[in-house]
Symmetry: C2
Subunit: 135 residues, 2 copies
Amino acid sequence: MILDIDHIGILVESIEKAIPMYVNLFGYILQKTVTMESVGLTVAFLKQGQTNIELVAYTGNTDQTAFSRYVMGEQAGYNHICYAVDDLTKTLSDLESVGINAIEGFPMKGGHGKIAFLDPNDTEGALIELCEPLD
Amino acid sequence: MILDIDHIGILVESIEKAIPMYVNLFGYILQKTVTMESVGLTVAFLKQGQTNIELVAYTGNTDQTAFSRYVMGEQAGYNHICYAVDDLTKTLSDLESVGINAIEGFPMKGGHGKIAFLDPNDTEGALIELCEPLD
């Protein structure tokens, strides 16, 4: 079951330029910045009221970024919305039964627990992430 | 001053296909669907908890859609985030002083009051709308 929106993922070229813009001009609070070397990403976690955004930047053109680039693409801007789910396996099975499939390679363990990205060809063009928080 | 996120705008090819997906699979409640002929858009307003999304589709390739297509582009997916502001003129002036400019043609009257879209070249690639609700 879909529980709620977890975060909005925004792909940026320069996380160093993007953080002060969102903090100083748009009222977000920076919570932490994490570099995840295994997937070639630096992610800044920011919050404004009930809304969590994640500014995501590739750490370079290494082998580690290849899968992330395949999933999230190259276009800076709003990239995905992540919904928290109580049971990822069941949710993916329910979605598959109506023709909405996970991208090949998912589910996998991600920064938020067990995650899967859905194929945007199946969701009217919007990249959707699902996450089942780890205990 | 930026007050809060008003909505997330999602560009879709088929609003008829997108609405049941968001309602039946992702837990949104459809509030209304409005066709705005002067700007060549059909917009479906949906809500889930604190989050408002707007599914936006062009009504065709008419002259009326030209300005909307120039602002929002052609790529289906997450298109913009709209922030409510208390004073659009002052906010635009403050942003301009740090090098963030409105797209030419704004501010103008929109569905939410007085609105302006900011140039994504000035905002690390993310299309941002500002709206000052009408009294």
